[in-house]
């Protein structure tokens, strides 16, 4: 048993190194100023928020808003910085943020109270709720029909958590990413896939045969999207929020919204009056 003990001791020594790793003390604005790069966390398949388009470029609603924040940071620092992009996923994004690999998560992250224990969020820039996407003609019309059915979710998403905690009758199949989940749905290995409604609409319009897919159900959750950043960095947070407020006040936000969700866009999703008032109410006076 000597070997057993030695290996365990070695493991504990390595762990204690990890535990005593030096704390990061540099603020985000300092970091951006020194490195001259502002790095955002993006996704390759979350249309229309953050994805790789047909021209093989990173694009999306969140990306365009991040561009405005980028300008706000340059104004604050008084110098030009580059905007870098790094691929993230629900499972990796918080770790990438706390390890300083990215400065702002700009994909589709729902602001929740438990998440506020580990990160800070910007103003809410979009509101949606969880729905199901099914093949046309499926008997599933909403959350009442999912008992015993194979329901796909994405690991680390808020929808997965709600289904696991509140709708225990469903047979959950948790996939690492959206592409795998939608593939399994297309092959009939899942009866439905649950995600934020707006993302399901995005999936439907991006699929080879959009008419074949239906988004069903009442929202089973409330999903306000915010940009996530490292905790306790209020200077950086103010820069991000001011950029968003200026965009809402000055109308750029609504132009970008029209570009991605307007009647002529790929994912028409007209803005409700309630959401518009909510956005405007988030803007504090100059």
């Amino acid at each position: 048993m000597k070997r057993f003990g030695l290996a365990l001791i070695l493991a504990l020594i390595i762990l204690s190194f990890a535990a005593s790793a030096p704390a990061q003390t540099q603020s985000t604005l300092e970091k951006i100023k020194n490195s001259e790069v502002f790095t955002i966390g993006v996704r390759n398949a979350s249309p229309p928020f953050s994805f790789i388009n047909k021209q093989n470029e990173r694009a999306g609603f969140s990306n365009d808003l991040a561009e405005l924040i980028h300008k706000g940071i340059e104004k604050k620092l008084g110098k030009q910085v580059k905007m870098g992009m790094k691929e993230t996923s629900p499972a990796t994004r918080i770790a990438l943020l706390t390890s300083m690999s990215v400065d702002l998560i700009t994909e589709t992250m729902t602001d929740t109270r438990p998440r506020r224990d580990s990160v800070d969020f910007s103003l809410t820039y979009f509101v949606t709720g969880a729905d199901f996407i099914v093949k046309k003609g499926s008997p599933i019309e909403g959350v009442k029909d999912i008992a015993g059915k194979r329901i796909g979710t994405q690991q680390g998403s808020t929808n997965e958590r709600i289904l696991r905690e509140k709708y225990t009758q469903a047979q959950l199949v948790t996939m690492p990413d959206q592409a795998a989940a939608f593939m399994a749905l297309q092959q009939g290995k899942l009866d439905a896939y649950c995600n934020d409604a707006i993302q399901l609409w995005g999936l439907k319009y991006k699929s080879a045969n959009p008419d074949q897919w239906v988004v069903v159900g009442e929202w089973i959750s409330y999903e306000p999207y915010g940009f996530a950043m490292r905790k306790n960095d209020s200077d950086f947070r103010a820069v991000v929020n001011n950029a968003l407020m200026e965009a809402i006040e000055g109308g750029e936000y609504f132009k970008i919204y029209e570009k991605w969700f307007g009647t002529k866009s790929d994912v028409p999703y007209p803005m409700t009056q309630a959401f518009k008032s909510f956005l405007l109410n988030q803007v504090v006076p100059k």
């Binding site: 070997r3 990890a18 003390t25 499972a91 918080i94 706390t98 194979r150 199949v173």
Partner: protein, 241 residues
């Protein structure tokens, strides 16, 4: 911005249940795959050494085809590709009886079967040819010589490399999370995404894998000593442990 450790997330419910379920799934996945892989390994490893060319060719094709594609690709193949080829009723049956798990079993056992075959071939080829000739000249058939003489000796010779392969198989079960199998690594990631306590969650998985692997190598070491044929194989002192 300092990272605060909170080890209690590991035994807070439902996290502990996830870890235990994940561990049980890992053990089930590893043990079923291991049995199939060893069986495939013995059959194809032996076939690669028999004195008939067509049999050797079949076994070589199996080994080279399956060991030269990454396991992750195999898992996607067995989950997204292979089931589509089955007739619809069979496919539906699998879908409703844990298709994720059985696709993982198929991927891991066939891939590791090819690797085990190489280990066993090496074991057989380490046995002097005279053993086979002695068996044949005493009136045994080729199959009987293999079953009674060659394979029993080869199995004893290959314990150290086979242990290595077994540990690899156990650790490779973690890839099954990519096709939705809720095994141990999946459970650790799950805790991490719920609590944002990455270090704690992944450390727990690392320690569990470490303990599992050390246990397996202890058992294999014991087996090696227990089944050694005295005087047959020249060996130094037993491995220190």
């Amino acid at each position: 911005m300092t990272y605060e450790f909170k080890w209690s997330v590991l035994w807070a419910q439902p996290h502990l249940t996830w870890l235990i379920d994940g561990l049980l799934t890992t053990l089930r996945l590893a043990s079923i795959s291991w049995c199939i892989a060893v069986l495939l390994g013995i059959v194809f490893g032996a076939m690669r050494t028999v004195p008939f060319r067509p049999v050797r060719a079949v076994a070589t094709a199996y080994v080279e085809f399956f060991r030269n594609v990454p396991l992750l690709v195999w898992l996607f193949f067995w989950y997204f590709g292979a089931p589509e080829a089955f007739p619809e009723p069979v496919r539906q049956w699998f879908i409703h009886h844990g298709i994720e798990f059985w696709s993982a079993v198929a991927g891991i056992s066939v891939y590791h079967g090819a690797r085990f075959a190489e280990v066993i071939r090496a074991g057989i080829q380490a046995i002097p040819r005279t053993q086979l000739e002695a068996g044949l000249s005493s009136g045994l058939s080729v199959v009987a010589t293999y079953r009674l003489i060659i394979i029993p000796i080869a199995l004893r010779l290959i314990v150290p490399p086979a242990t290595n392969e077994s540990l690899n198989l156990l650790k490779n079960t973690s890839l099954a999370m990519t096709i939705g199998v809720a095994e141990l690594t999946f459970a650790a990631r799950q805790i991490e995404t719920y609590t944002a306590k990455a270090v704690e969650a992944l450390t727990s998985a690392a320690l569990i894998y470490l303990v599992l692997c050390l246990s397996i190598s202890s058992v294999m070491n014991w087996l090696e000593g227990k089944f050694a044929i005295p005087g047959l194989i020249a060996r130094g002192t037993r491995a220190e442990h």
